[in-house]
Amino acid sequence: MDAESAPQFEQHCRDCVAEGLTGLVVDLGELTYVSSMGLRSFVSVAKTLQDKGGALRLCRLNGLVKQVFEITGLLRIFPVYESVEAALIGG
């Protein structure tokens, strides 16, 4: 998820919010790359959901993506789960 694809991800999330969803689970198991532009989108969407009483839940972080979330302290901010199933029933 880079400067080019992050806005598409964010727009997709905002479309979901516009449909009335307040809780989103994002499966990052196949994601191999995220830059600060991607992080910006995650934080922005999470703030929107929190304002609506919901949350952005992440699951299956690994490799460089997990490393980037750790470095930036975002693992402490997002609810993070080991699997999609756990994220769906969690929190």
Partner: protein, 144 residues
């Protein structure tokens, strides 16, 4: 692929988002020549994106079409040095205040993590103003 200590390659391109993939591919060639492992190549992509996009966003605020020159060298086997140079307004991104990583979601700013990531992932990083050039040079090594 065999490491070639001392080898230097340069590429100049438009300071525009559309050039980002070409920038990444160019520097990846250096990573292969330096025999960096796959895990470092992902980090290298991240370093280039953050620095390159920073130049695109800040170097040429007056709207003129500027350029970025990427230069890589291999100081020693398993080590890659990359310089990102532009002729934009004098700007040292390393002076950016570090983000407060202890803030909760409500208080967190949406952005401001790019240069922090660069400082953390690079094994070394320096900035210098050289006449009308901004020159940001970072290192990444197989073991870093």
């Amino acid at each position: 692929m065999e490491s070639v200590p001392g080898a230097t390659q340069s590429l100049t391109m438009a300071a525009h988002t559309a050039s980002l993939q070409a920038a990444m591919e160019f520097v990846r060639k250096g990573a292969l020549e330096a025999s960096l492992p796959e895990v470092r190549i992902g980090e290298l992509d991240l370093l280039i994106e953050e620095i390159f996009m920073n130049v695109c966003s800040h170097a040429y605020p007056d709207g003129r079409q500027g350029v970025v020159t990427l230069t890589y060298s291999i100081p020693a086997p398993g080590e890659l040095s990359v310089e990102v140079a532009d002729q934009g307004a004098e700007f040292n991104p390393l002076n950016a205040a570090p983000p407060d990583l202890t803030l909760n979601l409500e208080s967190r700013p949406v952005g401001g993590l790019g240069i922090f990531l660069v400082k953390t992932l690079a094994s070394s990083i320096t900035y210098r103003r050289d006449r009308n050039w901004n020159r940001l040079t970072f290192g990444i090594s197989a073991g870093s």
